[in-house]
Subunit: 574 residues, 2 copies
């Protein structure tokens, strides 16, 4: 009965307006002194730094030009600033093609975004962690933060404001090495402002993201997308809206598909809880039936977006230990509290896991699938692992640890919290050489480095350098897009620091995202250079990378300084 | 996966001990003066009245014999009392066969029950209704009440107590008229006590219950049975346990099968809420699927028990207006608040009702099915009726009213609260002559007549007489067996007066039940006599019956006196 869904969709229509046009930004709770605008007589355009978030109402310093460096196949970013004392209507931004003596990089390779301003909170150190229970927003200083990146459409710009413009330039692998010249042009109220820039393209080539080794594991939330846009879950429209979002993840080298095999694996901690992608029905005659329709549809879709490495299934160890199923006797969903190691736990999960293993094998997915369990104590992990082995001895396991586990030999993929050094270098090398990923993760902690809205942008790039320094396969974050209610206006959430739940925004990405991608590219470049460099150059590279092994930040911009210096060293060694 | 159910069942095993042996009765909060027992030197046996509840600890008056009257085919009751100053072990009761000059009635026709004692509360008049919110039991005077009837098994009897014994004698239709002599014999500690009694069997014959015209509509709760006995819902064991219970309903002329077509049609008001007997699934591609397995199984079972008249389906107008369905997208049950008359209400219910009508027709049940709506206001009844007609113009509707509705022409079966005279006699006659039932109902009110544990037993018989007097087709009660947690020990419930939720007990019936059946038999006898009597006798009968048209009770035993007098008049007219 399609009518019902149409009605549902129509009820939700007002929400879907989010998708139609960028919403009005909230007012700045800490506007800069309007007097400083007296020295700005006319709109002007210039360059800023990609590692700086420019306040909306403070007059910034501008650079007349900027020089970027890139490998062939690499993406590089730049941030320009349109500064205007008076309102401008229908501001339109264009990039020229880039030209060197030998070659041309088409303007189509230059993606232009407006940086937008969103409300954020800050870090508050309560008993060593700042993380939970932010329902009372008054505890935290609100600030309007430059973070979301939305594709630049003609827009009005308020007077006495800064509108940052973000460039994301993808150097074609076929581009000849050389120094390219380009221009950024802003059309505003009949006036044209231009600024030049250069990109030095090196002889080296970065492979396409699908070839990247970095194990990027960002948990995708399809439920948030359906709710945000007000479209029926798993409808064609839903998949259509998810495609650019998930292709963006794949374009950053995203390797892992996040699936929820039970309802609310994380106890509904996000604005949009993860429902079960697998239906479990206890029939009238007491048999189990499993429905993999959603799971199959979602996994196939993610693969079609380019995410093909691994399928992580959350979970057989939810924090609440509650397991739902549809009971055909009562025609409703029942929920049971089942403790690992008990006969009830086994009676519920064993038939499911056996059936699931058979289904995965039939799809040809079994070898890339992990049953995932995050931040659970060893006393329940052990019986859960035993049960998995009983269901199928070849089931792979993923585990994330925020403590030092006694024995992780059983796990295929492990992720360790940034704050912990759980494995020595030799163990990490041993695992990764066997193709078993070891990643690190940040979540609501540590304070630095992290990817909050108030984190210095370079801390996102730091993730790639830290992974390279520690020999890790990559990085895990628990939330790629678990958006709060209205993320493009207010990034704060009832729990955790702003931005903890998402790295990208509806219809776009973020400064954090772009810097994270740069760090991943750096990781790939380091690996290539380590293969190709020798002697003193290799030693110098390794020295530079090793600084990222451990670092306790004390000053906000340490990460930015470190990353910029390291990138400079790397360029000097090419 | 049967194992899961076995485990479930084993978890519930302690509960199922209820079924194994009668539980210990609770202590009497108002024991009689022990001194009165001084005059009882030895156990004795005698007759009491079926219209009296004998306190467990007070010495009663005994009659040496009793004379009963019955039609052929009728069931008649008697209450004997075993009175003992000292404990008796393994007391065993037997009835002789009944003999007259011409015939014998086998002892197998005499069913013997022990009357048991159960805790009850009372009526409390708060703002005109006494009904709700009894969680604080201290507001109500508790008393140990003689009500449940359990088949007499050898049992120990405490000293200084009364143990009433209930006889339910079914006169075979083939028994010759005459005066039959019988004996009740009690074996106690090697001593044998006997009391004689007579049954005068008239020449008239009462047909078998299946032929009775009385429209008995008592709502059955299969969910209570599964929970009480700790057996899986709709399992063979569950049906086995329900069979005697539901055959008992059929043997009283039960006409209506209660079905729940949505989850919790009465907002979980009973200890065991009614789940949906029909599964509704919204598939991934937005189509509806309906599962009638439980509905079909339950209806077929009830028919096999002898209840074949009508199938009442609750409801499309639940009090909470919440409608559940299984959503294959989220793999969980979702709940929607849908208001009658809205497009959403129609979008949800119309496809279901169409499909349901087709299913009922395919089963051959459509013509006997009513969609039932109880105590709902007219402004939502009207759009609900319109929707039903849109789904199928021939859908029958049942409605219960606790107010005066403007127009009930649309309804097939109506039930009116005892307190209201909603239809004049002509309208009632018109409807019933067309085969459209008109019943009355009592529930948590009125105070009298009713079938609470503290109601005089004859008030149950009063129901048949009131129906006869008003020209009604029969009687409706909202609860045949919506048992509280432990009904054989404590009949009180968190809401409503004790006994409001059930008329019979697990494994047996009740004094209230037996008297209700007698009233129904009286109704049938009145109808037969009205057909057969003429002149002054008919006039006398009608005069007697008409006293039950309306009656505001002020004295507890008015009902008993009225019923006994009327029954005597009826006997005199045969």
């Amino acid at each position: 009965m399609k009518l019902f869904h149409l009605l549902l969709a129509s009820l939700l229509l007002p929400l879907s307006l989010h998708a139609q046009k960028p919403c009005q930004e909230l007012g700045d709770p800490h506007p800069a002194d309007a007097a400083s605008w007296r020295r700005v007589s006319a709109p002007c355009l210039g360059w800023g730094s990609i590692d700086q978030r420019y306040p909306k109402t403070a007059v910034p310093q501008l650079n007349p030009t900027i020089r970027l460096s890139a490998w062939k196949g690499e993406r590089v970013n730049a941030q320009a600033l349109l500064v205007t004392p008076k309102p401008l209507s229908r501001v339109y931004v264009e990039a020229s093609s880039l030209r060197s003596g030998k070659g041309v990089i088409s303007s189509a390779q230059v993606k232009i975004y407006y940086v937008r301003y969103v409300m954020a909170d800050g870090w508050l150190d309560i008993h060593g962690h700042s993380n939970h229970h932010r329902a009372d927003k008054s505890q935290f200083d609100s600030s309007l933060v430059a973070d979301p990146l939305l594709p630049a459409q003609p827009m009005d710009v308020e007077g006495q404001t800064v509108r940052p413009i973000w460039l994301d330039i993808k150097i074609p692998a076929s581009a000849p090495a050389g120094k390219y010249q380009g221009t950024l042009r802003v059309n505003a109220d009949g006036r044209v402002l231009t600024v030049p820039y250069t990109v030095s393209v090196s002889k080296r080539t970065l492979p396409e993201p699908a070839q990247w080794k970095f194990h990027l594991d960002l948990w995708q939330n399809p439920y948030a997308v359906a709710r945000y846009y007000g479209v029926p879950l798993w409808s064609e429209e839903h998949f259509r809206l998810m495609r650019p979002l998930m292709e963006q993840y794949a374009a950053a080298g995203g390797k892992v598909i996040t699936t929820s095999i039970i309802q609310h694996p994380w106890n509904s901690q996000t604005e949009d809880p993860f429902e079960s992608m697998i239906g479990k029905t206890l029939t009238l005659d007491g048999h189990w039936q499993y429905d993999y329709s959603v799971f199959d549809k979602w996994v196939s879709f993610m693969m079609s977006c380019g995410v093909k490495g691994q399928i992580d299934c959350y979970t057989i160890l939810p924090w609440h230990l509650r397991f739902d199923y549809y009971d055909a006797r009562t025609n409703c969903t029942l929920s049971r509290h089942l403790k690992p190691g008990t006969a009830d736990y086994e009676a519920f999960l064993l038939p499911f896991l056996k059936d699931f293993a058979a289904h995965l094998k039939q799809k040809g997915w079994f070898d890339r699938t992990c049953i995932a369990m995050d931040e659970r104590p060893m006393d329940i992990l052990t019986p859960a692992h035993q049960l998995l082995r009983k269901a199928d001895p070849d089931f792979k396991i993923e585990g994330a640890f925020n403590y030092f586990p006694k024995d992780v030999s059983d796990l295929h993929d492990i992720s360790v919290a940034y704050e912990y050094d759980l494995l020595d270098g030799a163990s990490v090398r041993q695992r990764t050489s066997q193709g078993r990923p070891v990643t690190f993760y940040t979540c609501c902690g540590p304070q630095r480095p992290n990817t909050f809205l108030f984190s210095p942008p370079a801390e996102s790039a730091y993730m790639g350098w830290h992974a390279a320094a520690s020999g890790y396969s990559g990085y895990l974050r628990w939330a790629y897009n678990s958006w709060p209610q209205d993320p493009l206006r207010d990034a704060r959430f009832r729990t955790w620091p702003a931005g903890d739940c998402f790295l990208v925004y509806p219809g776009g990405s973020s400064i954090r995202w772009m810097r994270l991608v740069q760090g991943i590219q750096d990781y790939e470049k380091i690996a290539i250079l380590r293969d190709q460099l020798k002697g003193r150059k290799l030693q110098k590279l390794n020295q530079t990378v090793s600084k990222f092994r451990t670092n306790k930040f004390t000053v906000d911009n340490d990460a930015g300084r470190m990353v910029r210096e390291a990138e400079q060293v790397m360029r000097s060694l090419e």
